[in-house]
């Protein structure tokens, strides 16, 4: 029997016995073959001494059982680690942040507690997946959309707590920002509702985010201050139509004006749909880090410039593109809503970006929604239509790295300024590291526009089952993090193996942020039982441990 750290066999056995009494014997898992399922399939520490594996798992059916489980964990000082569906592969999956923790598997808590078409919200338990919620909306014929991450098998609630993102309209894409009202079991077993939910019989829990007093919902994002058992989320009214408008601009440095102008359109709420940056010259698709399949064939001269071992000479590339009348940049804007709104937004985009010499514009077909099953089958990416898929698992060319089979991937996810200058700098910096270590992927990658006021520059790295290769990959990530931090770029999310590394970069005023988070931790979780080490927040007795 694997024991949690600092827990005796007798205490652990007593705690497990009481866990089983609360949830029923079938829902306590201690066998090796069951615990195998609580490993992170994409762990970059797979099979190594530092891999974070569970000592047991317990699956409650409701929030009352969670309360009782937490009380038992406190009594015996058992570290616990709640998961929703545990499918956040690469960001930890179902594995705990601290080896030896007992996983609270909340998949059985999969009730859609309330869904309100009139006010556009849903209240879910942790086990509700995007597929579940999508199907429920279809079955009920509700005129609501969900904003789905890729892949769509994860928990709606869990994805929001992890800081997950989607690809529809700006107010819904940042999933934690779309939440409105949380029910959480604190480490002492006390249940709390945030916002208006603190008012018994509240009629506006999912309608008014601020509530009364400090807004504390954010304390439960990427943290370890409780077990969130319910969450309200604002949903998007099903739009009438969808269209994509394509804008191209000819020169590499046009990206500076391009980003500035689009930024103004976004800040004015004229552009609210996602826009994707790609390059007809380099053949790099938008979301290159998530893309699959062989690269498109390129002009041989352009390919030679791109694959120069010494680096891509952007002046040469720019000249080659212009001599072939290939635009350097392409922006695909997604529009939603009534036809006349789409046309009006498009007119605004054309007027504004028309200031860039050589810009060209083409509005695609305005497609009536919802898509028919036949249209869905023909559509490569259903994310912009709020339809969950598992297409992200088509890993394409990531077959091997360092002579080892690639079994997964991990993301390095820095947030960079929303300027063309930052795009150019980040492309240069990350391409150099990609070349240095022969990382899979196109020679040049571009940022994602998912966030409203900053870019996300996700770089996908392979994961293998070789400790040697994975150690090298961890070194590469350390280098990427250091290089980014030097430039003022920080990660918004990371795999458990890098929690401490990333938190270490948020070091303003001698790590004042981490100190505050630890002060809160000590106050709400004095025994340090709740997800110790998650996002590098440790209880007092584990401050010097590595997780």
């Amino acid at each position: 029997m694997k024991l949690p750290p600092n827990v005796s066999a007798a205490d652990f056995t007593a705690a497990l016995t009481q866990f089983a009494r609360i949830v029923g014997d079938p829902w306590l898992f201690t066998a090796d073959e069951d615990l195998e399922l609580y490993r992170d399939s994409y762990s970059i520490l797979w099979g190594e001494a530092d891999e974070r594996t569970a000592s047991a798992a317990v699956a409650p059916d409701n929030a009352d059982q969670v309360v009782e489980l937490v009380k038992v964990a406190n009594r015996y000082r058992i570290p616990v680690y709640p998961i929703s569906t545990g499918k956040n592969l690469g960001y930890g999956g179902a594995a705990p942040a601290l080896a030896g923790s007992v996983v609270f598997d909340l998949k059985r808590m999969n009730r859609i507690v309330e869904i309100d078409e009139r006010h556009g919200y849903v209240v879910v338990e942790p086990g509700v997946s995007y597929f579940d919620l999508y199907q429920h909306i279809q079955d009920q014929g509700l005129k609501l959309w969900i904003d789905v991450p890729s892949p769509g098998w994860g928990s709606v609630l869990g994805n929001a707590l992890d800081g997950g993102v989607g690809v529809t309209l700006a107010p819904y894409r940042n999933h934690f920002e779309a939440q409105c009202g949380i029910e959480v079991v604190l480490p002492n077993g006390r249940m709390v509702r945030t916002g208006m939910g603190a008012l018994p019989g509240a009629k506006t829990w999912q309608q008014f985010k601020p509530g009364f007093g400090p807004r504390i919902d954010g304390l439960f994002k990427q943290s370890n201050y409780g077990v969130v058992t319910k969450m309200g989320l604002w949903l998007m009214p099903a739009p009438e139509n969808f269209a994509t408008g394509v804008v191209t601009v000819p020169k590499f440095h046009d990206v500076i004006a391009l980003v500035d102008i689009i930024g103004r359109l976004e800040q004015s709420k004229i552009v609210q749909g996602l826009w994707n940056l790609s390059s007809p010259t380099t053949g790099t698709p938008a979301f290159a880090a998530h893309e699959s399949g062989p690269p498109k064939p390129l002009d041989s001269a352009i390919a030679a410039i791109l694959n120069d071992p010494g680096g891509v000479d952007m002046n040469k590339l720019d000249a080659a593109a212009q001599s072939r009348t290939l635009p350097f940049w392409q922006c695909d804007f997604n529009f939603y809503g009534p036809e006349r709104l789409i046309k009006a937004q498009w007119d605004c985009v054309c007027d504004a970006l028309g200031a860039i010499p050589g810009a060209k514009f083409k509005l695609g077909e305005i497609r009536s929604l919802p898509l028919s099953p036949q249209e869905q089958a023909k559509t490569r990416d259903l994310g912009p239509f709020g339809i969950p898929t598992l297409k992200t698992f088509d890993l394409g060319p990531m077959f091997s790295y360092g002579g080892e089979d690639v079994v997964g991937h991990i993301f390095f996810s820095p947030v960079i300024p929303r300027t063309g200058e930052a795009v150019i700098e980040a492309m240069d910096v990350f391409a150099a590291i990609g070349r240095k270590y022969k990382l899979p992927g196109p020679p040049l990658q571009f940022p994602s526009t998912i966030f409203e006021r900053a870019f996300l520059f996700a770089v996908g790295l392979p994961v293998t089952r070789s400790a040697t290769v994975n150690a090298k990959l961890r070194d590469i990530i350390r280098e990427l993090v250091a290089v980014s931090a030097e430039r003022g770029w920080g990660e918004y999310r990371t795999a458990p193996a890098f929690y401490d590394l990333i938190m270490g970069t948020y070091s303003y005023n001698d790590h004042a942020l981490r100190e505050l988070l630890e002060t809160i931790k000590d106050a709400v979780d004095p025994n340090g039982i709740m997800s110790p080490g998650r996002y590098a927040i440790r209880p007092r007795h584990l401050r010097d441990a590595n997780g």
Partner: protein, 184 residues
């Protein structure tokens, strides 16, 4: 209600395939084993094009048990979950990416991967491979969970040219049993 011959989602019936010489022999072999086995369905990966020799085998298998084309998209999820809810043992032929997803979805229904083999999809008429799948369809004893052949990692890829055949058995309670009700 999913019956043993119900396909998942829409358009799930596997494309009708010409049954060339040899097909009947496979079918006969599968029929003979049917009485002794407890496999609920043969799952076929709709996201990849099956090599001709496997298509023949699959077509022949229809005589013996439900052949279900698996789609991992939203329309396919509900039917897949109903199938997992009702079944005890499933065999399948798929690419690594589909197996990777299916395996993890099936975990929540208490299933464990108990046998797996892989071959190059381009190997024409690989008799050993067909024999292996036929044996699983016929209820051959599955290797113990965690045995080296199962535990060996596979690439979760759709494009690496490998075809996986596998068998899963239910081994524990169903964590992911659908509830999804509105209970305000």
């Amino acid at each position: 209600m999913v019956t043993r011959r119900t396909a998942i989602g829409t358009g799930l019936a596997f494309a009708s395939l010409a049954c060339a010489a040899g097909c009947g022999a496979y079918g006969q072999g599968v029929r003979e084993r049917r009485a002794a086995q407890s496999i609920d369905a043969l799952l076929i990966d709709e996201s990849i094009e099956m090599p001709p020799h496997m298509s023949l085998f699959i077509e022949a298998s229809r005589w013996a048990l439900p052949v279900i084309a698996v789609r991992l998209d939203a329309p396919g999820q509900a039917g897949l979950k109903r199938l997992l809810d009702k079944s005890q043992a499933l065999v399948g032929i798929s690419c690594g990416a589909t197996l990777f997803c299916l395996e993890r979805i099936a975990w929540d229904y208490g299933f464990r991967l108990t046998g797996r083999s892989q071959r190059s999809a381009s190997e024409p008429g690989d008799a050993a491979y067909r024999k292996e799948v036929t044996a699983w369809l016929g209820g051959a004893p599955a290797p113990a969970a965690g045995s080296s052949s199962v535990a060996r990692p596979y690439r979760p890829s759709r494009r690496d040219g490998l075809l996986h055949s596998w068998v899963m058995h239910r081994a524990s309670p169903r964590l992911g049993q659908g509830r999804g009700d509105v209970s305000a």
